[in-house]
Each structure stands twice: as structure tokens, then as C-alpha cells.
Symmetry: C2
Subunit: 329 residues, 2 copies
């Protein structure tokens, strides 16, 4: 690999001049620049990002910490971040934290050692105090965390109310909710939305709440158990994977969706269009969330002012077959 000194020698100039050509700053004679560019081309010279990073303490690299890329909500988010970063010549280091504080800590440490310019966090088990010490630009994505840090989230509470209300409008009166894990803020918000809406409708009952962990399988079993014990005519699942679990449970019990039990999920992952019947869901603008988070991070890195610190994107109720009693059959 050719270095800047090789280029300098070949062009008959000093390394400073080559550097000026590279960075387009300082004064460089037109003729000289041409000679330098020719030398660069002839040697197929590409500057070392590492040498640059060492001096500038910035690496054109960002970290992206997700709980688990295998969770179908995240690929689209990751893709969006990657796309935007790519446009601005940043590179993305992907980290799976499994929601473990220890893994998050380790990753942050490593990322800092590699001089990443910023980090997008879609998971967080750490305290704000701990995060304060990182002195790296941070954007919080999907999970509300702390006032201080820029964030991109959706209105989980409102979405949950929308979903619950929709089931009610479809004629459901005994609406169960499969709750996500309570250590995930979003799951709590969705539960709150469900609870408030149910209370307002005067049909709230504690036992309609089913404990889930965001996984299909566990949700399926939990719903099977619930169906055996009580009457239910609608299910609002805390995410789409659990909605599929519910769907399977209901079908396995010989009941029909949506005729006997209507089901609605949350997230709007592609999967919801693949089931039979197709699943209604509260759709989040996943790609946009990732893209906006990436843009905000870049602004922060480049020291530009943010118009807004906290972005809350709208959710959208998507009605499909699993809650459409009229149109279907």
C-alpha cells in the first residue's frame, strides 16, 4: 500500500502539499495539484483512515447497539441506519446486546477504544449516570431513555389506545392484552395505553392481562392457557411476534380469527402480511426511525445544531383481516 510519502516523492512535493490536496484546504498551485493527483492515481493511493483517526480522534465509524438483530423489528432499522451512514461516508459497527447491561458496557468500551464518532442505542439497561461518562455522541432509538439525550421514538401509549379502541369498535368487549417484558419501557407504555383505554371504556379487568416476553412461542402457550380459563373475544398483543403466537393458539383451539377472536399486533413488521389471516397491527415507521436517528447522530457529530432534541413519530393503525369482521366471510 502506497503512503502519503510515496505520493509526495513521486510528485516531487512534500507530504504537506499532498495532504492539502487530499483535504482541499490551504493553498495549492493548480499545476502542483495535477501532479499530485496523477501520482495518487498511478500509485493507487488511498489514505489510511487509521492514521487519520489517530490524529483527528475521529474515525468515520459509528456503533449501533441493538438487543438482537434476529428480532424481526430490527433488520429494517439497522438497514436504515446503514443506508444513511453510507451516504455520509460513515461505517457501522453492529452490536447485539441481548438487553444485558454487561454486554452494553463492554461494547461501549470497545467502541470508544476504536474512536467511534457516535453511538445509536436501541436498548438500554444502563443508568443515565453511567451513560454520562461516555463522552461520545449518543442517539437513543426506539426506547425512550433520558431527557438529555436526543431520541427517536414513537408514541407507544397512543398506539396502544388506538389498537384497543379499534378492537372495541369491532365489537370486542373482553379484550385481552399480551404484555411484553416489564423491563422494556415500550412494553410498559403499551400496557398503560391498553389499561387506560379499557378503563375509559369501562371494560377493564386485571385478569385479561396475559404475561408475555415478546416471543412467539411463549405467547402462544400463554394464550392457550388463558383461553382455557376465561372468555376472550379480542387480543391486543404487545408486538407482532406475540400476535402470531396468539393467532396460532386461537386457531389451534378450533376458534376462528377474526370471527370468534379478533387479534391485533404492534410494530408493523413484514411478517404481519404473511400470515393467514393477515394481521392487523399498529405500524411504526421503522425505516424512518432509523434514518432520522442516523441523521441526528451525524448532525451531533459534525457539531451542527439540532432543530429538535426529541422526535416522536406517529404510529398508524393498519386494519387487516384479523380484525375485519364485516368484510370477511
Amino acid at each position: 500500500m502506497a503512503t502519503i510519502r510515496d505520493v509526495a516523492k513521486r510528485a516531487g512535493v512534500s507530504v504537506a502539499t499532498v495532504s492539502r490536496v487530499l483535504n482541499q484546504n490551504g493553498y495549492v498551485n493548480e499545476e502542483t495539484e495535477k501532479r499530485v493527483r496523477r501520482a495518487m492515481k498511478e500509485l493507487n493511493y488511498k489514505p489510511s483512515e487509521v492514521a487519520r483517526a489517530l490524529f483527528k480522534k475521529t474515525s468515520k465509524t459509528v456503533g449501533l447497539i441493538v438487543p438482537d438483530i434476529t428480532n424481526p423489528f430490527f433488520p429494517e432499522l439497522v438497514r436504515a441506519v446503514e443506508d444513511v451512514m453510507n451516504i455520509y461516508d460513515y461505517t457501522v459497527i453492529l452490536c447485539n446486546s441481548d438487553e444485558k447491561a454487561e454486554k452494553e458496557r463492554e461494547y461501549i468500551e470497545v467502541l470508544k477504544q476504536k474512536y467511534v464518532d457516535g453511538v445509536i442505542l436501541t436498548t438500554n439497561q444502563l443508568t443515565p449516570d453511567e451513560v454520562d461518562e461516555w463522552d461520545v455522541p449518543i442517539v437513543v432509538l426506539d426506547r425512550p431513555f433520558n431527557e438529555k439525550y436526543p431520541s427517536v421514538v414513537v408514541d407507544n401509549y397512543r398506539g396502544a389506545r388506538l389498537a384497543t379502541r379499534h378492537l372495541y369498535d369491532m365489537g370486542c368487549r373482553r379484550i385481552a392484552h399480551i404484555q411484553g417484558p416489564m423491563y422494556v419501557v415500550n412494553a410498559v407504555e403499551r400496557f398503560r395505553g391498553y389499561q387506560d383505554e379499557m378503563m375509559e371504556l369501562g371494560i377493564w379487568e386485571q385478569r385479561l392481562v396475559i404475561q408475555g416476553n415478546y416471543q412467539l412461542k411463549q405467547a402462544k402457550e400463554a394464550v392457550m392457557a388463558a383461553l382455557a380459563q376465561q372468555e376472550i373475544d379480542g387480543i391486543f398483543a404487545g408486538n407482532d411476534a406475540m400476535a402470531v403466537g396468539a393467532l396460532k393458539a386461537v386457531q389451534q383451539c378450533g376458534l376462528r380469527v377474526p370471527d370468534d377472536i379478533a387479534i391485533i399486533g404492534y410494530d408493523g413488521i413484514p411478517l404481519t402480511e404473511m400470515t393467514t389471516p393477515e394481521l392487523s397491527t399498529v405500524s411504526q415507521p421503522i425505516y424512518d426511525m432509523g434514518a432520522i436517528a442516523a441523521r441526528i447522530l451525524i448532525k451531533q457529530i459534525e457539531g451542527k445544531p439540532l432543530e429538535k432534541l426529541h422526535y416522536q413519530l406517529p404510529v398508524q393503525l393498519i386494519v387487516r383481516q384479523s380484525t375485519s369482521r364485516r368484510e370477511q366471510m
Copy 2:
């Protein structure tokens, strides 16, 4: 951030000694080492990976180029690579190539500038000649590419024969194949397997081949069109997404799966368990593929000998409801 010189000063030694402690090489007196370690702890010193990378020309970072993380086949693969790399203290830069040669080239260029230690390629539109010039360790994953480079693939040909034969055994005689894009080697192999098996069974017919592009939607439409024109009693889809498309098309035509038409996919992504009926498929050991590729890459990077250059992992026929005529109903 404290530097090695700060540590040296505080411990009252030279930077060389600190470096020796860090890397556990050379002679260091026990007492001295203790002092150095104390100083490191007190200053919360973490060595700069960037400075190291500059000198050593190695960065404890690898590149992973996939066509599109949004394609449900890849998250598990990516996760496996990340998990293994994490164990060995490597970090993973994720790149989406969209199967475009130009993007692949750009990424490789950037990765080299960042001194990545190796690259895992799950896509490739480039010629071996071009790849030869990279002088970075490469492992080819999922897509067979060139004899020279270590690879991890599955036997697509055999899997396709298995699937076709399975449909035949289930009583299907007019077995259609939804073909993936012909610029993807795997799709060609799967087609070949289908074709050879059909010929051997004496039921091959050119018009049973349906052109797909690995996408659900397009496959659904193609199958709708095919169903209108000819009789079909079994469908072997080139991947699981297209199998779901086929499933939807068949159901939309008012036909039953598997009774009227049996369907089998390829890949074994989680999605296949979420449909109703659940999809039979030829399952690839996705996680293992990623994990093995990662291990091979690390061996190469660390200059250890590979026991084997090419790994071909077994596929497994998974029979579910979409091809089970007896058990069901």
C-alpha cells in the same frame, strides 16, 4: 483519556515497560508490573485501538457484506458471525451490498482503508480477478464463488432434489418450481436439482418452471398467473419468502394447501413456522454457517492452518403441514 505516557509517568517507568505489561511480552519485574497496573487502574487507562492498528496494520475488526439484512435469511447469519467475532474480541462492520458490484467495490475499499483484518462475503458480483487484488483474508459464505477462497455453503443441488422428491412421494405429479434470480448461483443450483430430479422421475416439463425473484409479492403474482394457465399439484419454491407468496396465491384462488396443492420452501427461516399451514422447507443450518465462516476467517487472520478449505453443510428436509396430506384433515 489517559495515554500510555500518562501511565508511564505515574508508575515511574518508561512507555516501553507499560507496553510490555499491556502485551505480556518481554521481561517485567513483578513489582514493576504491579505499579504499572495500579497506575492503569487509577487513570482508567484503555489503550487506543487506533494507535495500535496504525502500527500493527490490524484492527480487530472484520467486514461482513450481505446483500440485504432485511432479507429474513440474513439476520441469523449476521448474528452468528457477530457472536463468534465477539468471543475473539473482533468487531463487525456491517455492509449491505444490494447485490451491486459497485457497492461491493466501494465497501471493500473503505474496509481496507480502515485496516479490517478480514471480510466475510455473502454476496458477490465481482470477478475472482478483482477479488484477488484485495489482499485481505476472505471467507465466502452461502454463495459458492471460487476454488481459491475458503467457503461455507450448503448443498443446494441436493436440497432441491430432496424437496422435489418429497413432493413426488406425497403424490404430486405436476410439480412447479419457482425459480430464484439466475444471477444468484444458489438459485441456479436449486433449479438444477429440481430439473434433474424431475427428469429422473420422468415428469419434467419446461412450463412448470415459474420465474421468481426471491420476493414474496412477485412470486405470489407469478403463481396466480401460472395457476390460471395450467394444472399444478405441488410447488417447490426457491426460497421461503416465495413459498409464502405461493401459499397466499393458492389460498386466494380458493384452493387448499396441502390438499389441492402441496408447497415446500427452501432456507428454513423462522417465518416458515408462522404461517398457516406451517410450511415444509429445506432447512439450512444458518447459524452454524455464520459461526463456521467466522471461525475460519479468524484462523486465517491469525495465520493458523485450515483443516478444510471448503465446508459444505448438510441441509435437512423439514416436513410440516404444507406437504402433509395424510396427517392433516
